[in-house]
Amino acid sequence: MQSPGLKNNSKKRAEKGPAQRLRQRTAILILLILVLGFGAAVLRLTYLTTVQSSELQESAVDLQLADTTVSAKRGTIYDANGNVLAESASVWQVVMSPVNFKNDKQRQAAAKGLSEIFDLEYNDVLDDTKQQSHYVVVKRRIESDEREKVLELIDTLKKDYSCSGVIQLLDDYKRYYPKNSLASSVIGFTGSDDQGLEGIEYEYDSYLSGTPGRIITAQNARGTDMPFRYEQNVESEDGNNVYLTIDETIQSICEKYMQKGVEDNNVLNKGVCIAMDVNTGAILAMVTTDGYDLNNPYELSAKDKKKIKSTPKKKQAEAESAALSNMWRNKAVADTYMPGSVFKMCVASAALEENLVNEKTSFTCTGSISVEGETIHCSNISGHGTQNFVEAISNSCNPAFIQIGQMLGAGKFRQYYQGFGFSDKTGIDLPGEADDEFWAEGKMGGVDLAVASFGQNFAITPIQMITACAAVSNGGYVVQPHVVSKITDSKGNVIKSVDKKVKRQVISDDTSKKMKEYLEYNTERQGAAAGYISGYKVAGKSGTTEKRGVTKFESSFSEDYISSFCGYAPADDPQIAMLVFFDTPDGDAYYGSQVSSPVFINIMSEVLPYLDVKTSYTDEELGYVDASAGDYTGVSVDEAKTAVEADGFTATVKGNGSTVISQIPTVSSGLQKGGSIVLYTDSDSQSETVSVPSLIGLSPDEVNDVASAYGLNVSFSGATTSSGTSSSQNIEAGTSVSPGTVITVSFADSSSTLNE
């Protein structure tokens, strides 16, 4: 039954074969076209519009949008009082849209014009004109004269080559530093793209730089206007303004005297001065001498240029970049030095804090001490004899401090070293802060401890030292030093304000108070050698370090020295701490007391009155307090006489007139009480002169006597205690001057010895 059925079936299929074949093959055809063909197309389209979509879209947008960058105005840097230290001024930049060139003639004309205006290589500019781009920067920061020339070129291109939309002038900014070299190592400068390269400009670049704006224009492939174009502007956002804690006045005072110190002492490797608010850690001034012009940061000093010229040709480029980075270097944070005797204030604080010593603890100095078989000398070879703790600090006696260090032991020594913040960066908001160099834990031997006790053989940064000094003075609080007080946006809203940040209390308030007493004693006792300033209580310590382990400069001394002085004022209510140091002085002296202390005194004498620090004279000092002469002219002789006497002066009347027509000295301050004011009543009498006597080598009282005998006035500077001896006068002996003229006399303390 089955086989016939099958036969029948296959027979029928054979008959229907051709029709069946067409149907089957058509089905396969439809399958191939619709499934395989359309399927492939759908797959491909799906992939492109989903997986690859964002990537392709980005490329498309890049292609369609002519994106022009609009420079943002960089923020201004102000000092503590709102004086401008750095600001950006509007200039222009030249950009090109090379896609808009229609032929090579236009390209050549534009390239020729631009290369002539800006002194560029013609072929380089020509290459730029061939780019398939909407935006090529030709030259940034052009001034108005160049701008005029570019405008002319644009006109010419339009007229003679019917070429437009190719060259554009856009806003740009140029950085100006109105105070030139002031605080150069702190402020820093910017590079060709307005990016901060050094100092504050670098550290606060993200705040200062702002956000560049964009002009986005959708353009067709030929870069020309279409009736369907759209434009989108993203406004540039001006940078934020940075306010420094640095006070321009204090900074200039410091720079003035530091530069003088460098010159007077022929300092070979720069000087550093840091002034800090001891309570907040705000840096009031930070000087690295031989600053550079921020408006011209790549201009080396004549000395450096000369040096580079003398080096072999091959090494000149290297020497130049080394000289530049040395010039830009902020030595106050980026360099380390051995603090020397200045460090004794920390060692003494630690010993006091640990109750290992008190002011009655006595130390004997024979001029040297033997530690583990090695003999270490005191600066005073003959020895300080028996001295108490306070005298030991003032004597800066090395054997005494070695004993104190031994009392502390390496463990405690390290603990306080860390406590004062020497083992960590201070975290000051300036770039390039260096690390200290100290013995690793457990590696500090007996000799190491001995020499470390007077600040030798380890290295710290100046900013660490001043921070530690501030901690000694302010009750033991280690604060984080900072140079920026606040940041405001371009509209003046404060967006960041830097508050006082206390890291820890390393010594007690009690210890701090004791240290003030001892250090003030040191200053009082040593006078000008330890920062004594008449009318102010100063606490300070000098230091002289033998440089070890660094390349020796060619100083005339047997060793290279660092002369430093670190102190604070007023001692009873510390406000400002200051570190002054000179690296490798090569003049008459190298002791910190001789080199740095005078500079400290000079600076502080101007800074303290500027900061309105109240004067507090001792009774002895009161005798020499300055008096001020008023204006006595224009009134009758009698009236003038009364006024002069009321002000504490004696009056000398010259001439026969009834009214006073002039006076010597004129209105002035800083005169000694009892000085004479010469009142002139007619013009004939004004031609009288006196010869200036020598006022050197006298005590203040003697100076006063001599001066009044000659009818002259004197003004004192320096340590005017009764034991002081006048060391110089500003008008040389023998000079003819009018009676009453003020002569400034400087005093040095005769009782001071070199205690380092």
Binding site: M1, Q2, G5, N8, N9, K12, R13, K16, P18, A19, Q20, R21, L22, R23, R25, T26, L29, I30, I33, L34, G37, F38, A40, A41, V42, R44, L45, T46, L48, T49, T50, Q52, S53, S54, E55, L56, Q57, S59, A60, V61, L63, Q64, A218, Q219, N220, A221, R222, M226, P227, F228
Partner: protein, 418 residues
């Protein structure tokens, strides 16, 4: 009992295999889609005949594609037209005129008795050869000779060649349907007709034309009944010839077009950047479209980034504006066109009609697939236009005329429903 039951089943099965019964059943099922038929019989011998009604779904699909194509062509071209012709409507107006003429021709031809073409097929083939020869004599432009200028519009001989090939093979295969298993009735004419046409196109040169005509020849011979083994041999030969030509470097033009194929986004040299410029921008446009597109008229790449966006690369602009979703809808309509065209052709009364209808409909499907694979960088950029979308007067008229023939076939297909 059981065997008897089985026999009955077999009888049923046999009946279902019966072609005519099957067709009738199918037609009844599909009644909903078909226009109410007029009860008049088509008179033989008459050139035009109302006959049975034309296939309405197929007709609607064509018109829908034509309208969508027109809108998209306008959207893609107006920026280009504005810039190059100074008139945004330049291409739209021309395409509209051709479309109106084309639709007119389509409806007229739908009344045409396509059987008349059976006998003239060799003549049409001869005309095609003539055109292909004439174009070679003409000067051409930029070393390429593809167009015969005829004043108001140009004729592209390759368009005629495509039609001639379909027509000729429909004629040949239906005439010798029962002898198609013999190589001399299938392979021989295939090689002669395709080979000679391909040679002439090669001289133009017009490689995409060769590819399409090659595929069409294979399709026609395959459904015409050629043995599959010959098909394999034929395909092997074609691949061999192409390889030899490639090796001997005679394909310099084609190779230059292949250069950078699939590397549109990874150009390394300036030269490559320019070679792949069109394809790369097409990919950017498609990618920008994403899932939902930028919106009708919102394409950005049509602003001169894609050269001649109204031509071969129009679909890239379509995807950019309508997104993947829009693109798939359009592809779906094309698929419906192919499906409907082929199935209605299968119902034609004679073999010639069936083959002709299938051939003409397949041509559209093949071109759509090739076009999309070209603009998406899966095939080298060789100039294959998208039916109903790409700008071009003569090819649009040609296309609509061919659709007219398919509609005319649909009239006879519906006769069988009586």
């Amino acid at each position: 009992m059981a065997p008897q039951k089985r026999m009955m089943l077999k009888a049923d099965v046999n009946r279902i295999y019966d072609e005519e019964v099957y067709s009738e059943q199918k037609i009844r099922e599909e009644k909903f889609f078909v226009r109410p038929t007029r009860q008049r019989k088509m008179k033989k011998g008459k050139l035009f005949s109302v006959g049975m009604g034309l296939d309405l779904p197929f007709c609607i699909i064509i018109l829908v594609l034509l309208i969508i194509g027109m809108i998209m062509m306008f959207s893609a071209s107006y920026a280009y037209a504005y810039y190059n012709q100074g008139d945004s409507y330049y291409y739209l107006v021309r395409q509209l005129i051709f479309a109106v003429i084309g639709v007119g021709i389509m409806f007229v031809l739908s009344f045409f008795n396509y059987n008349k073409l059976h006998k003239v097929a060799p003549v049409v083939l001869a005309i095609s050869y003539l055109c292909l020869l004439v174009v070679l004599v003409l000067p051409g432009s930029e070393g390429v000779k593809r167009w015969i200028p005829l004043g108001i519009f140009n004729i592209q001989p390759s368009e005629i060649a495509k039609f001639a090939i379909i027509l000729f093979f429909s004629h040949w295969c239906s005439k010798y349907y029962n002898k198609m298993q013999f190589a001399r009735y299938s392979v021989l004419p295939g090689v002669i007709v395709f080979g000679s046409t391909a040679l002439l196109l090669f001289l133009e040169p017009h490689y995409s034309g060769i590819v399409i005509i090659g595929i069409l020849s294979v399709v026609m011979l395959y459904i015409g009944g050629m043995q599959t083994k010959y098909l394999g041999i034929g395909l092997g030969l074609i691949v061999g010839v192409v390889l030899i030509l490639a090796v001997t470097n005679s394909l310099s033009y084609a190779m230059s077009r292949l250069d950078g194929w699939g590397q549109a986004l990874e150009y390394t040299t300036d030269e490559m950047w320019w070679t792949t410029y069109q394809t790369r921008n097409s990919l950017y446009a498609i990618g920008s479209g994403g899932l939902w597109g930028l919106g009708l008229g919102q394409s950005r790449m049509k602003y001169l980034y894609i050269p001649e966006p109204q031509n071969d690369f129009i679909f890239a602009v379509v995807v950019e504006e309508l997104g993947l979703v829009g693109a798939l809808m359009i592809l779906l309509i094309f698929a419906l066109l192919v499906w409907r065209g082929i199935t209605l052709s299968l119902r034609a009364k004679d073999k010639f009609g069936k083959l002709l209808g299938i051939g003409l409909t397949s041509q559209i499907g093949i071109q759509v697939v090739l076009n999309i694979l070209v603009i998406t960088d899966w095939l080298p950029n060789t100039g294959i236009s998208l039916p109903f979308f790409s700008y071009g007067g003569s090819s649009l008229i040609m296309l609509l005329a061919q659709m007219g023939l398919v509609l005319s076939i649909s009239r006879t297909a519906n006769i069988e429903r009586q």
